[in-house]
Amino acid sequence: MSQILSIENLAVTLQGDQRVIEDISLEVPEGEIVGIAGESGSGKSLTAAALLGLLPDRSQTSGHAWWRGGAEPRDLLTLDQRSWNRVRGREIAMVFQDATAALHPMLTVGTQITEHMRVHLQLSRRDARRRAVELLDRVRIPDPEASLRSYPHQFSGGMRQRVAIAAALACQPRLLIADEPTTALDVTVQAGILRLLEELRAETGLSVLFITHDLAVLAALTTQAYVFREGRVIESGATEELLFHPRHEYTKTLVAARPQADDWDEPEQVAR
């Protein structure tokens, strides 16, 4: 299986010589969902930011992030602004933790789903809206036509995250980076979103890099997983192996510390 993304020895230093990512190597096979687990401050979200060129100003990176989802393999860490705008949204898209904050409160859902389609795919307004209706239908938003004219605050939290996913998928990216997309949602809504992601993977061959601190979610959704701590990968491998037979002390602590040990055998199972 080919790797659509290979991160080799990524290190990130923020302004003021603050080293936040020490050494991270990671692979995302095409068409799979790969998980990153770790506590806050472990470098999960900054890794995602590095992959989209959205690190804070004056950050320094070293290492490589080989991206094979475009016309030819490229190192994402060396892209200039113009190349970035062709990768972002078009080849790699992102879903954020809190859809309420990540959707613009004053722009209609329609605008937020179509604006980058019109830039990347050069679609006319009409075609973009037609495709937006399909997308909203795809992520199970009721009455997609009317939803296009609605604003984010008119949706529930789970529906907002679905809208954000629809927007992320608008230009048919090859990789979706999902940064704790279900953390802000309650459990039943969360299960729906996870099921949606798995369906999308199965049907369209979308690769997903799924960031979470929730080991149950990791078990339910991912095949491969990486455990981050203090800017390093401390353990990686097949998700089940990793969770049920952790080798590293830290992973053992994480597994032991999960909130409801009784639920462990029945996480929100996703239809595979």
Binding site: W84, G89, A101, L103, H104, P105, M106, H116
Partner: protein, 338 residues
Amino acid sequence: MLLGFLLRRGVITVVLLVGVTLVSFLLIQAVPGDTMSATLSEQALQDPEIVAAYRARWGLDEPLYVQYLVYMRNVLQGDLGVSQQTGRPVLDDLLTYVPATLEIALPAMLLSLVLGVAIGLYAAVKHDRAGDHAVRAGTLIGLSTPPFWLALVVLYVFFYLLGVSPSGGRLSTWIVPPERVTGSVVIDSALAGRWDAAWDAIQHTALPVLVLTVLTVAMLVRFVRSAMLEVLDADYVRAARAKGLPTSRVLTAHVLRAGLVPVITVSGLAFASMLSGTVLVEQIFSWPGVGQYAFRSASALDVPAVLGVSLFVAVVYTVVNLLVDLAYGLIDPRIRLS
């Protein structure tokens, strides 16, 4: 929904206007000094007959609340009284002076908005880099410059040293003023097809507009900068960038849009204060605007004129606030749809 909003605002406006007239009516009574001694000559004041006639003429022999009620009844009929100083109806005076103030306040406000938003956004994007520091230093200078001093300096430079600008007034003395239609010399000249007069009038507005703009821009830039800095950090801006949108689109459609609400509030206040309180600037440029009228009326204790100006200022503030609130609704669907 909109109708309910307007109704609510209408009631508030009426209460506010009654309050303002009452307070200014009482305040002017409390001012030490007497309208009579400000108007009548020393000799006339000695003559009880003249004094009595004067008091009867202006209703000063009635109790205070009667005076107020009579005043309000007249106001409601569009009669603001007669200025003791100009001898003309106060409403006519206001209709003469307000357009003059508008002629410099409107262009100054438009310029300030465009420049303030552009420079403020630039500074926010360049946060903590050279461009931002330069803008902040500039606004500090702009804000700490007294308007009358700036007015004198630009007069000295552009009129005295460079000779490129007139010294004051609305029109050069050798040009016959156009027939009055709107009260704006620039527009009236253009309406009459007298382009030379219009151009001359525009030149006369240049320096006062410049002075008003410098002060307002400096203040606006600070507000825009901090509003935009907050928005630039928002998740939805990161999300917009993650979509691969061009920077120009991220800044205009996403950042500006979200940061505009506080900016509009401040702009409204700035405009209202420009309309009602540019006394010093109008004084230095011999600009016959509301500020000058208010100043002269107040120093002459011309009660009907002072009350008229107070009413005007109150109306300006309420109307501007109403427009600001309507603009919120236009910009932010959460306000419009809730």
